[in-house]
């Protein structure tokens, strides 16, 4: 899952980036509104953490531009302006959630998780596909109730596929959603991760659609 954070305060941005990375998200960062707006328009994100008081272009304008251009990714506003008036304005501008500074990092992570899950159409915090259960809250994967150990990249790939069960996911989409923008992207590594996952998961769970990509299908 790939997340954009638009925040001009470098220390706070670093903290959020670190926390999100530790939760196995690929994170892009913009420190002003104009760059943030551009990234949101050209890259594919599963969620955005957006500050309101930004240099060059304020957060509300950025959000309105995205929504006007048909960008539908979930956005959580993270701001010090936390009175209800600002919340009404923010939600009406197209935000999906609103978190006031100072905040607990766990709270932010929980909101981001919930946003991504809801955007993919899952009501529960536990994603289930046959015998495989992925708990989005604890980032834990079990097969038939037994915890299996995954590397960060393996988890990222599985999590993305679990969120889009039954959908055909292209290799490009996988790359876009598990690597940050400045990461050295090699499409062959995807095949390596898929191979490793197949060995740890029940057979036949990840289907390869030749020339198109992959599909996660549970038992019918």
């Amino acid at each position: 899952m790939r997340i954009l954070i638009v925040e001009d305060e470098p220390l706070l941005a670093a903290q959020v980036i670190q926390a999100l990375a530790e939760a196995d998200y690929a994170v892009d960062h913009a420190d002003n509104g104009r760059d943030g707006c551009h990234l949101g328009n050209v890259e594919t994100y599963d969620a955005v953490v957006l500050d309101l008081g930004l240099p060059l272009m304020d957060g509300l304008t950025v959000l309105r531009k995205w929504r006007a251009d048909g960008r539908r990714m979930p956005v959580v506003i993270l701001t010090a302006r936390d009175n209800w008036h600002d919340k009404v304005v923010g939600i009406d501008a197209g935000a999906d959630d609103y978190l006031a500074k100072p905040f607990h990092m766990e709270e932010l992570l929980a909101r981001v998780r919930a946003l991504i899950r809801r955007a993919a159409g899952h009501a529960s915090a536990e994603l289930v596909c046959g015998a495989v259960v992925l708990d989005t809250r604890s980032s834990r994967v079990t097969v038939d109730g037994v915890v299996i150990s995954l590397t960060s990249h393996e988890f990222k790939v599985l999590s993305f596929l679990m969120h889009r069960q039954g959908e055909l996911v292209s290799r490009t989409a996988l790359i876009e959603h598990i690597y940050a923008q400045d990461h050295d992207r090699d499409s062959n590594t995807i095949e390596v991760f898929i191979g490793r996952l197949r060995r740890k998961l029940p057979p036949g769970l990840i289907e390869t659609v030749r020339g198109l990509g992959y599909r996660l299908t549970g038992p019918a």
């Binding site: 903290q15 936390d82 009175n83 209800w84 009404v88 939600i91 959630d97 905040f103």
Partner: protein, 464 residues
């Protein structure tokens, strides 16, 4: 103008009273002076006329005087005025003469028939030949007479001057003067009353723009208007313009205060967030202390900023805000922020016309906190109702949560106390609602909802 205003209008310090009193003094003074002046002019004129008549009679008397061969004085004929011949008719003549040269004059040698048998006693004082003098003497029946006296000396009687006297009843002079004075008083009285009435009307009309200004200001104060509208006389208009400028400045100050409050929040809260996040990564007592203090600082900032914003707004005048759209905006936010809870948030009754006399952001702050609490505590449903009368309106928020024990209900308004530590929130929401409502002259109360949870009733002043 209100009922109490007419009574207050009579108190000292009232412009109306000052203007009226000033005009009244001026009217009374000028009428008294005019009356006195006219009356004396008239009296003088009448007296002069009266004396001229008497003088005529005197001339006639002298012309009729004759001396017989035996040096006897006699009249050639009677005077033309018939009243000289009627006894006590009020017009008299008399001739005093000395019988021998050098002797004192003997009064009443010759007299008019009207004197009958009485003689006028005119004080003796030396007069030059032809000189005329006026005396006030007693008449035959005790009346005051105005007498004209002239001394002559006939060539036939050298050294024996004659005092020729004509007298008339003074009432003949005083009666027309008195009647004129009476008429004059009536005429001036009518004039005075007319002037006073005109002055009252003038003061009332002249001061009417002030009353109008007062009404308009009352509308501004009650939140029915944002500025003083309407055309005023050129003496009052600059005042109105200045006042409007002050109003605009006031609104600007309030807006700036809001903006600065927001900027301050941003400036303080971002470092607080960084501190809290850094501390959260550590497991030391120091880190816990930082986390605790950051939470405390955040509460203080929230609370005092909300109050500062509201205080600026409450002092500003002419604010109004439609309640329904504001609450609907908050309901949209709630259904988004509490989407995980799957709540139904709905109206159960609304007064679409309700307008709050105050700042929209403060209404949002109050209703937002109440709705947020209801959403946190509700099991499945939150309802909002809008009721009110002519002066107050009430936003009633119900939830179907587990409700609050009575003891907790009173305590939740204290700053920092949270009814349920398990439900996330600063615990400040309700005390901010309480403080803001009080600033606006409203109130917030927690009751038991028919749905089983809490009913929060927020009453606020309604704009007309």
């Amino acid at each position: 103008m209100r009922a109490g205003a007419s009574a207050a209008g009579l108190a000292w310090g009232s412009l109306r009273l000052r203007l009226l009193a000033g005009t009244l003094v001026w009217i009374v003074a000028s009428i008294v002076i005019a009356g006195w002046g006219l009356n004396s002019l008239f009296s003088r004129q009448v007296t002069m006329q009266f004396d001229a008549d008497l003088n005529n009679h005197l001339d006639q008397l002298i012309a009729q005087l004759a001396i017989g061969v035996d040096d006897e004085l006699s009249m050639r004929g009677s005077l033309s005025e018939p009243r000289f011949s009627t006894p006590f008719a009020g017009l008299y003549w008399q001739v005093d003469a000395a019988m021998r040269p050098g002797a004192a004059a003997l009064p009443g040698v010759l007299r008019s028939r009207s004197l009958w048998d009485s003689v006028l006693s005119v004080p003796v004082d030396p007069l030059g030949d032809g000189q005329v003098r006026v005396h006030r003497v007693e008449g035959p029946n005790g009346n005051s007479l105005r007498a004209l006296e002239r001394q002559i000396e006939l060539a036939e009687r050298p050294g024996q001057p004659l005092r020729m006297i004509v007298a008339a009843d003074e009432r003949l002079l005083l009666a027309p003067i008195a009647s004129f004075t009476r008429l004059l008083i009536i005429a001036l009285g009518v004039l005075g009353l007319g002037l006073v009435a005109a002055a009252v009307v003038q003061v009332l009309i002249g001061l009417r723009p002030l009353g109008l200004l007062r009404e308009t200001l009352a509308r501004v104060r009650e939140g029915r208007a944002e500025r003083v509208e309407g055309h005023f006389p050129s003496e009052v208009q600059p005042l109105v313009d200045d006042f409007n400028t002050v109003l605009a400045l006031n609104a600007e100050v309030a807006e700036r205060a809001r903006l600065q409050a927001g900027n301050l929040a941003h400036a303080v809260k971002t470092p607080l967030a960084i501190l809290a996040n850094a501390a959260a990564r550590e497991r030391t007592p120091f880190a816990r202390l930082v986390e605790e203090q950051v939470a405390g600082a955040r509460n203080q900032v929230d609370h005092h900023l909300a109050k500062a914003r509201a205080a600026a707004a409450v002092k500003a005048s002419g604010l109004r805000c439609a309640v329904r759209p504001t609450v609907e905006g908050l309901m949209r936010v709630m259904s988004r922020l509490h989407v995980e809870r799957g709540l139904r948030i709905e109206w159960t009754g609304t007064d679409a016309e309700a307008v709050f006399r105050g700042e929209e952001q403060d209404l949002e702050e109050m209703v937002g906190n109440l709705l947020d609490n209801a959403c946190k505590w509700a099991r499945s449903r939150v309802t909002v109702r809008l009721v009110g009368d002519a002066t107050m309106l009430a936003v009633v928020v119900d939830d179907d949560g587990k409700g609050l024990p009575d003891a907790v209900r009173a305590a939740v308004f204290a700053r920092g106390v949270r009814a349920d530590e398990q439900v996330q929130g600063s615990g400040l929401g309700l005390s901010i609602v309480h403080d803001l409502a009080q600033l606006y002259g409203g109130a917030v109360a927690l009751e038991t909802s028919a749905m089983g949870g809490v009913r929060a009733v927020l009453s606020l002043p309604r704009a007309a």
